[in-house]
């Protein structure tokens, strides 16, 4: 309720802080929204196969993600979408295939390498650090950018404090952007689902990723929350220039947001193209509606 009563005030507060986010983004070369769609490939997976014991999760899937686009990965349940994200950020090691990120070919990603080279993500079942506050969760996203040693942290003087404040400022800007000021110091385990999803997005953004993987960011949300989330996704993409790959079941959202869509079924790629192309692909229609025999 309190959020609603604040609504008239919210835009006045958001605009300048969003401008700050954009100012931050301006300093990065890829920030120019006009050049958003390029043909430069940021990440490509070629012939990736993944199996657990005898179960094939992904078989011989290939696709690419271009710099600056919003790429949707869709498919029925169990199609291997989440597994694909797990392969991309190095949680699962595929048995076959090559992953190229920013021109560097690898047989598999490693979580730490993926994180340092600019891939961050959110999770299907919110994977926040439940015992920590919103602020701490997002500050944890800045870990890679903080480098003051244990000694300074133990004494908490000079460089460590300066560093802490510097990153706090960045995080506070993100908090403004995501409109979660009021839950700054609440342990996230106590938050409702919709807000948790938002905090998780904030945590992923705190890493200042080049490629943001969103695993069902709108699952279980009501219309209003979905609209908010869509707005965030678009703003992130356009003003920060972050490339986004998202998994989503809501076809309306997928068709509206994404530039290109890849469709998986039983671990195989069955279609790839613009939303309109995919929508009219007979194989996709079969996958979703079933084939008449």
């Amino acid at each position: 309720m309190s959020v609603k009563t604040e609504m008239p005030v919210a835009p006045a507060e958001t605009v300048p802080s969003l401008a700050m986010v954009m100012a931050e983004a301006e300093r990065r070369p890829e920030a120019d929204a006009r050049q958003r769609l390029t043909t430069e490939v940021l990440l490509s997976v070629e012939g990736v196969s993944l199996s657990f014991g005898g179960v094939k999760a992904i078989s011989d899937a290939s696709f690419d993600i271009r710099k600056g686009e919003i790429r949707a990965i869709i498919g029925p349940n169990g199609a291997g979408k989440t597994s694909m994200l797990n392969v991309i950020n190095g949680f699962y090691f595929p048995q076959q295939g090559v992953i190229t990120f920013k021109g560097e070919k690898r047989r598999e990603m490693r979580p730490y390498f993926a994180a340092t080279s600019g891939i961050s993500r959110t999770f299907q079942n919110v994977a926040l650090f439940k015992g920590m506050t919103t602020l701490d969760n997002m500050m944890a996203g800045r870990t890679l950018k903080m480098n003051k040693g244990l000694f300074w942290q133990a004494l908490r003087v000079g460089p460590a404090v300066a560093e802490e404040i510097r990153h706090r400022e960045v995080v506070e800007r993100l908090i403004d952007f995501l409109e979660i000021q009021h839950i700054r110091k609440v342990p996230v385990g106590k938050l409702p689902y919709g807000l948790q999803k938002r905090v998780e997005l904030g945590r992923a953004l705190a890493m200042e990723p080049e490629l943001l993987l969103l695993d069902e960011p709108m699952a279980g949300m009501n219309l209003e929350e979905k609209e908010d989330m869509s707005r965030f996704v678009l703003t992130i993409n356009q003003s920060l220039g972050t490339t986004i790959a998202l998994i989503e079941h809501d076809m309306g959202v997928v068709m509206d947001l994404s530039d290109r869509v890849v469709v998986l079924e039983y671990g195989r790629k069955i279609a790839d193209g613009t939303p309109d192309e995919v929508k009219s692909d007979p194989k996709v229609i079969d996958a979703y509606l079933g084939v008449s025999h």
Binding site: T82, N86, F91, F93, F123, N125
Partner: protein, 364 residues
């Protein structure tokens, strides 16, 4: 010397085989993993080669220790079995197993003392005492299920584990307060030594009758449990609960009842272990630590595997006796005290799921 000259090449061969196995297994490993693997392979091979040398030197003596170790290991298997049952059925890693052995033992020995002191014939007194301590274990199972486990339903494993540490303290305190806290001798089984295979080895193999009794009883109990779980309704329900709590509940299996049964079975297993250990050492507080060795046994065998518990117990029993006698003389005695734990640590580093456990696939 001849023995060493055979064993050392054997050991080097074992190291090479271990290395080949490690390198060829195909799992991608970090440098640390590899280093740890190689280190452990070398230590293991040296240990085995050393044992082999000893075995060749004096086969009779070696076999004597091995058999003694295996027979005492059977009891570890038995206690570990109680752990596995509880872990499978309720996801609880039960630290209180040792305390349960103590409770069972104290109840048994004190009621037996009381009955014989009041003039009841031994033939009657022993079954009565066993019945009484069985009832005490049932009470324990009931109380733990009702007041510890049920309120903690769906908590994570660590919380449950810590709650069993709490239960351990309550059980230890109560049992000693009610039954007393001294060393109480128990004489249920013969403890005189006997000699086997005299015709094969000079002097034969010296085995304690008690160990043989323990082995036989444990074997019977394991067989009985296996039949119970395989062929009774409760056993089937229990396997269902072990597989999936929620699903079992949804088809109408009373989960509290199943947990009670499991804890009761674990209590009876503890009682059996207490009779054998009590005859050997007397019922005393330190029995708790003996029973606690079922923890490393589980790690070695795998948390969820009944055969794992049995094999793990045998490995630990034989390993610690052999280590105590052959290595203990080199670095000072008392190795038995930690050998099982360090062995478990080594297994954890190489095969975290244990020898018989299933590989864990993590999801997110």
């Amino acid at each position: 010397m001849t023995a060493l000259s055979i064993a050392i090449p054997g050991g080097i061969g074992a190291i090479l085989a271990g290395l080949m196995f490690t390198l060829l297994r195909g799992d991608r490993k970090s440098a640390i993993d590899l280093a740890v693997h190689i280190f452990l392979a070398v230590v293991m091979a040296v240990f085995l080669a050393f044992l082999a040398a000893k075995a060749i030197d004096n086969p009779g003596g070696f076999l004597e220790i091995l058999v003694g170790g295996l027979l005492s290991g059977v009891l570890y298997s038995l206690v570990a079995l109680g752990f596995v049952l509880i872990f499978k059925a309720s996801g609880v890693f039960n630290y209180a197993q040792g305390a349960m052995v103590l409770v069972a033992g104290l109840a048994l020995v004190r009621s037996l003392d009381f009955l014989t002191a009041s003039g009841v014939a031994t033939v009657v007194a022993v079954p009565l005492a066993i019945l009484f301590s069985g009832a005490v274990m049932a009470l324990c199972a009931f109380v733990i299920e009702k007041w510890v486990l049920r309120p903690l339903l769906n908590q994570d494993g660590l919380t449950l584990f810590m709650s069993t540490i709490g239960a351990t303290f309550v059980l230890e305190g109560l049992a000693q307060m009610v039954f007393g806290s001294e060393v109480y001798p128990l004489k249920l089984f013969p403890t005189d030594p006997m000699i086997l295979l005299e015709s094969v080895f000079p002097g034969g193999i010296l085995v304690n009758k008690l160990d043989v009794w323990g082995g036989v009883i444990a074997g019977v109990l394991v067989a009985a449990l296996a039949l119970f779980f395989q062929y009774t309704k409760t056993g089937r329900a229990l396997r269902a609960v072990a597989d999936d709590h929620a699903a079992a509940q949804s088809v109408g299996i009373p989960i509290s009842w199943i947990w009670f049964i499991v804890w009761l079975v674990a209590g009876i297993v503890a009682l059996v272990a207490a009779t054998v250990w009590g005859t050997k050492l007397g019922i005393q507080f330190s029995i708790v630590f003996l029973a606690l060795k079922a923890l490393p046994v589980l790690i070695i065998g795998g948390f969820t595997s009944v055969p794992g518990a049995i094999v793990g117990g045998l490995i630990v029993g034989a390993g610690e006796k052999l280590a105590e006698l052959y290595i203990g003389e080199l670095i000072g005695g008392g190795i038995e005290y930690w050998f099982a734990y360090v062995l478990a640590l080594a297994v954890l580093l190489v095969r975290p799921q244990g020898l018989f456990g299933e590989k864990i696939i993590e999801r997110i």
